[in-house]
Symmetry: C3
Subunit: 260 residues, 3 copies
């Protein structure tokens, strides 16, 4: 028996929005520590890693480990049926081939249940080694999304150059070139609005713009985002999910002339 | 001479939105008791019945009965030109082949008139027998619209099952199955938000989802909707139109395996 | 060296919106008196004339006259990257083949620069003779936009008839006919909401609706619009641009049966 209850059902809606552009289907691995999902995107370039801890749920029970393969377009249809103040419960029997989503309205006068067929999906668990990163940038997630969206108009790849003073995003293409510079500013009033950089050594790396843009679909999950960069290892783009977990995206740098 | 004046011109806009998905053209029958419209939808499955009483208008004069066939797409173009606080006057001469819509702004500095050609349409007046219904459900119209929209994602037909305790809407399809249960709750603070059921005997009936969804285009007309159900007679979905009248939609149940 | 600084970068965004439907590319002529643009629209029917005075900028320097040909779709991509409270600086070297747009955030923690390649465009400077107009109508720009949009649903051309009492816009087509009458009302509380007419003699002229609709893309630039009409000369539709200049559109009347 698996059962997980979340008073804030909107969290699961936002998680789904954060992955469904990259993944058509995915396996949710449920154990007594929580729910995990790890998958390469549809074009096998970037990696998505989601972690929702069991203690972050309002109720959580998982008698036996269970892997639930889901079509994310179908799951999105179901989540669209939840109102923002509905309480969500996911349920599955051991060895079940379906999962049930129950939405209860705040006053409990409306109860909806949606039963979805599960899929058998190939699993690929990639070990992600711990790495000391040359630069770790924390910045407002909306600002990161804005920059990725703006630069995507001009070029296919974005160079991220990080120094103690700040971080610069650059691109160029047929129209011309574009540079966006953010200064480190730890002293702003609200921590969420600050740009901070932990630097071991400066880095300049080049990434495919369209994947960065897909990662920013997670923006509604968190007011801040953390970028971890080092030469020759994938960039990590991490969004915290309230007190319940995180979503991380991994993307290898492009090896080409634009990278210095 | 026919002349009808409506200070709240937005009512006619909403009436038009409530019928133009089902009907391409329609005949408005004007008499001294008011304006009536009755028509099968374009695919001849459901029936629309509209009634606007003469005493609901701010001024109303109809010397001779007149039937005005209108193209509803053309009428919609005209109604789009009305601002929400415009005063509307419809005018036609006896035996005229045009109708004129006059919109006056609140301060009368702007006066617009639109003259539209009328059409000769075949008329089919269907007698609708009075029926005692097994169940009459009153519920918030926005909730009904939400449920029809949600379930349409999963299946083509919706089973409505009504008992003393509440009403259940169900469907199923390729993705899986869905059930939405509303409990009777006459005791909520606002009458408009309550779900009430007058039951002679329980009923379970099956309806084509797409017609229910078309009916819910009338949602802006009224905060509540009334569903009248009995075995072997059409469902009636009724929206009151302020103090001026009502719109009713009739839809026969599907006869198939899913109906119990 | 050319450099122009505008604290309200949103003005340039709105100017661009006001011309990009009519023009694919355009030459901005910069001199020490300011920036001017004059061009026939893509179909060579109407004329756009833009004037931004140097003293309207927060900083302005133009050592040598410079004509900068720009692709307006590319420029629109760059302007989309400006936040509404960004400060904008345009820069170009003498004889340069690029122009640079710098956007600085209010707190200066974010600085973006976009360099765009310039184009060589054929120039056609048309002399516009001074004219005494038979009628000059001032009216709320949103009202003019609304009327042009409404009437475009019914016909391809709009007759504007102006007398001392007011101005009437008329059209007709397959559906029927439409007339919108505005009374002169100089006495309303807010000058921006008034309709005023300076008349030497009444005029009735006929114009192509689609061009009028393109002109109304300038509506966000100003709360009022001025229409100057005389027989046998082009209509002038003028929007003031704050304290910095104006945009004027010229459109010749249609010569046909509908014109009286």
């Amino acid at each position: 028996m698996f059962e997980a209850r979340l008073v804030q059902s909107s969290i699961l809606k936002k998680v789904l929005d954060a992955i469904k552009e990259l993944l058509n289907e995915a396996t949710f691995d449920c154990s007594d520590t929580g729910i995990q999902l790890q998958a390469m995107d549809n074009s096998h370039v970037s990696l998505v890693s989601l972690n929702l801890r069991s203690d972050g749920f309002d109720k959580y029970r998982c008698d036996r480990n269970i892997s639930m393969g889901m079509n994310l377009a179908s799951l999105a249809k179901i989540m669209k049926c939840a109102s923002n103040d509905d309480v969500l419960t996911m349920k599955a029997q051991d060895n079940a081939d379906t999962v049930t989503f129950v939405f209860e309205s705040a006053n409990q006068d409306k109860v909806s249940d949606y039963e979805m067929k599960l899929m058998n999906l190939d699993q690929e668990h990639l070990g992600i080694p711990d790495t000391d990163y040359a630069c770790i940038v924390k910045m407002p997630s909306a600002e990161f999304a804005r920059i990725c969206r703006d630069l995507a108009q001009f070029g296919e790849s974005v160079v991220i150059a990080c120094t103690k003073e700040g971080v610069k995003f650059s691109t160029s293409g047929d129209i011309g070139s574009a540079n966006v510079k953010l200064a480190q500013n730890a002293n702003v009033d609200k921590e969420e609005e600050s740009v901070t950089i932990e630097m071991q050594e400066p880095v300049t790396l080049n990434f495919a713009c369209r994947y960065l843009n897909s990662f920013t679909k997670a923006t509604p999950l968190s007011p801040t985002v953390q970028l971890s960069l080092s030469h020759d290892v994938p960039l990590v783009v991490e969004y915290k999910i309230g007190d319940i977990g995180f979503i991380r995206y991994y993307l290898a740098p492009k090896i080409d002339d634009e990278e210095n």
